[in-house]
């Protein structure tokens, strides 16, 4: 196989959100198919190089094929992403214009989520660039969730329908985050383990976002966001990212250490306990234990 054909097939399989071994299977299958087409052209009198070129041309554009494979694994993925991007953008526009014409105030920052809308729109329509990977799409969806929550919350209107639409958008985004992470082309014990890891870690990530977001919001309202506070609040996300990466890596290798690594989730329980007990239920624990738990959420303490 020539280097060109090898690159061509690699670009196709890299367009899909599959683990390494699945991609190797796809690669082999497409290689056989491509070789057959090439062989047909050779038999028709073309040179090896010409036959290879023509076979690749007949096979199709690599990003388009990869996108098709991805679409087969996750039906209506493109349509759902398109609805989310355009629906959220429409929600933002309606909110912007209703405030503009009713209250004569132009809230330009309402368009901040448009950055995430553009990214999701790109992933929805893209059949050209080889970037349709789970990680990038999910990062865009998380960004969308955060930007929509921070900038497009319908404060301006107490009407239930606005809030239903808003929470439907957030719910749709959360669904797509889970759905994207859990998409695999086939299921075996390794995939089941990975699905468990994704589900638990994504849920922990959301719980951390809610808990820490609440603290940050309270500081933003009644105090100021000190860099030390932000540093302290970033620790659980750093630990979360490291634990998530380790577990996925071990699952990919089918490592025997994976079962032990599940215990790393204890950090999340500890952190959630530290968020709940010292702040909301301090009377349930001894003061020393409360102080210790407070240290967990605020490890770096600087006193003026």
């Amino acid at each position: 196989m020539s280097a060109k054909m090898n690159t061509y097939l690699l670009r196709i399989v890299n367009q899909t959100d599959c683990p390494k071994e699945e991609r190797q299977d796809m690669f082999d299958e497409m290689y056989d198919h491509l070789t057959l087409i090439k062989q047909t052209y050779v038999e028709q009198g073309y040179t090896e190089k010409e036959a290879e070129e023509m076979a690749m041309k007949e096979f199709g554009h690599e990003a388009t094929i990869g996108d098709g494979l991805q679409q087969a694994m996750f039906p209506y993925r493109r349509e759902l992403l398109l609805i989310l991007a355009l629906g959220s953008y429409l929600f933002v526009c309606v909110q912007y214009f209703s405030i503009l014409f009713v209250e004569n105030v132009a809230n330009y920052w309402l368009f901040m989520p448009a950055i995430a809308h553009a990214l999701i729109l790109f992933f929805s329509l893209n059949k050209t660039y080889i970037v349709n990977r789970k990680l990038w799409l999910n990062l865009s969806l998380v960004l969308h969730l955060l930007l929509m929550f921070v900038f497009a919350f319908p404060h301006f209107n107490d009407g239930l329908s606005w809030h239903i639409v808003f929470y439907s958008i957030l719910g749709g985004t959360i669904f797509l985050i889970y759905r994207t992470a859990l998409t695999y082309s086939f299921g075996n014990s390794s995939v089941i383990k990975k699905r468990i890891i994704h589900t638990v870690n994504i849920t922990i990530g959301f719980l951390l976002l809610i808990g820490i977001g609440f603290i940050l919001f309270a500081f933003l309202l009644f105090g100021d966001l000190h860099p030390i506070l932000l540093l302290n609040m970033s620790f659980p996300f750093i630990i979360w990212g490291i634990v998530y990466a380790i577990q996925i890596r071990l699952a990919n290798k089918s490592s025997k250490w994976l079962n032990i690594c599940y215990f790393l989730w204890i950090y999340a329980l500890l952190y959630l306990a530290a968020l709940i007990f010292p702040i909301y239920l301090p009377e349930l624990l001894a003061s020393d234990l409360n102080d210790l738990l407070f240290r967990v959420i605020y490890p770096i303490q600087i006193f003026d």
Binding site: F97, N104, A106, D224
Partner: protein, 348 residues
């Protein structure tokens, strides 16, 4: 169309429409911005002449308006300074406060009063001759003139004079000041809350609103205290505050004016049945039989700065909160007998 073109056009359409909508917003807000804008600060005398403060390009202007005629400019503030509490002293004299305002540290709640500059001026409405009544550091908020005793009284926070102000240790120090010969003499500091709605009575006493835990307040009483109307003789020391409003009233009073046989005050009608929005309204209170009358039914939550130039005329400011874009103020004249409401053009 190739996928590359579709992608490019979609992203251009998305970002292009964002910029287009933002431009539309800019033009809509620019075209509707009213400058000079009424700041909500005004006074009205018995002839219904007006002193109004408007703002344009961060400069506040005090104007005199007679018979709804054109405004006559009396005073322009320094850039970014504020004009507070203009008052009619007599038919041809006004007084007001010019201030640099609070300083803000890290956020809107962390404000410093003690380093502000304040000047109280008097102004001849005919010759426009201006005199300094007093200068101070700190925040002076309200000014009132008691004609029967020819005295100026002011409320303020963290006031100092003739010395370099010191950073306040904790909280702010609210007090009532008697102004004599350019000096601010503290005559009352018994409450954490700055007295509000100060006004003189015909016989020379001072009426004001204070919480009922004044003089013996603690952190715990602050949450239980109810704002009530008191009366006092500002020349007596120590100041003796006498309760004017009904001592059994459980709803706080937020503003008031004196009318023919009593008071007309703003209070909360659903204080005990609070459902997320307080129902403010104006209610007459007879000082003769000490009973509340029927609510006026203005049903405007943004009503403030009440003034009663005559017994059956009420002036008030309506504050409309433009969403996240600050406040807009309008001045209204209300005929108590007929219920007729007119909006006053403060920039004819």
């Amino acid at each position: 169309m190739t996928n590359k073109k579709t992608l490019l056009l979609s992203l251009i359409a998305l970002f292009g429409s964002c910029f287009l909508f933002m431009t539309v917003g800019f033009f809509v807000t620019s075209s509707q911005e009213t400058e000079p804008a009424f700041t909500g600060v005004y006074d009205v005398n018995a002839k219904e002449d007006l002193l109004v403060v408007t703002k344009k390009d961060n400069v506040e202007t005090l104007s005199f308006q007679k018979n709804n005629d054109h405004n006559v400019t009396l005073f322009d503030s320094d850039l970014d300074a504020y004009l507070y509490s203009p008052i009619f002293v007599d038919d041809h004299t006004a007084a007001f406060i010019e201030t640099t305002g609070y300083e803000y540290r890290d956020n809107q709640y962390d404000k410093i009063a003690e380093f502000a500059y304040r000047t109280i001026y008097s102004l001849d409405l005919i010759t426009n001759e201006r005199k300094v009544i007093a200068k101070a550091r700190g925040v002076l908020l309200d000014l009132v003139y008691i004609p029967a005793k020819e005295q100026f009284i002011a409320t303020g926070e963290d006031i100092s004079q003739n010395v370099e102000p010191q950073k306040a240790e904790s909280g702010s120090h609210s007090a009532l000041y008697l102004i004599e010969d350019g000096q601010l003499a503290e005559i009352y500091n018994g409450s954490y809350m700055t007295p509000s709605s100060m006004q003189a009575t015909e016989d020379g006493t001072l009426m004001l609103i204070l919480p009922d835990d004044q003089s013996n307040w603690t952190v715990d009483t602050m949450y239980e205290a109810v704002e009530r109307i008191y009366e006092t003789d500002p020349t007596e020391q120590p100041l003796q505050l006498e309760l004017v409003s009904n001592p059994d009233k459980i709803e706080p009073i937020t503003d008031f004016v004196q009318v023919e046989d009593g008071l007309l005050y703003q209070t909360i009608l659903n204080y005990e049945d609070y459902d997320g929005v307080f129902d403010y309204d104006l209610v007459p209170f007879s000082l003769v039989n000490r009973e509340e009358g029927k609510r006026l039914g203005l049903n405007e939550n943004g009503i403030e700065y009440l003034r009663a130039p005559g017994n059956d005329i009420l002036y008030y400011v309506n504050r409309t909160q433009a969403y996240r874009g600050g406040n807009a103020f309008s001045l209204h004249r209300y005929e108590l007998e007929t219920g007729t409401i007119d909006e006053i053009n403060v920039t004819p």
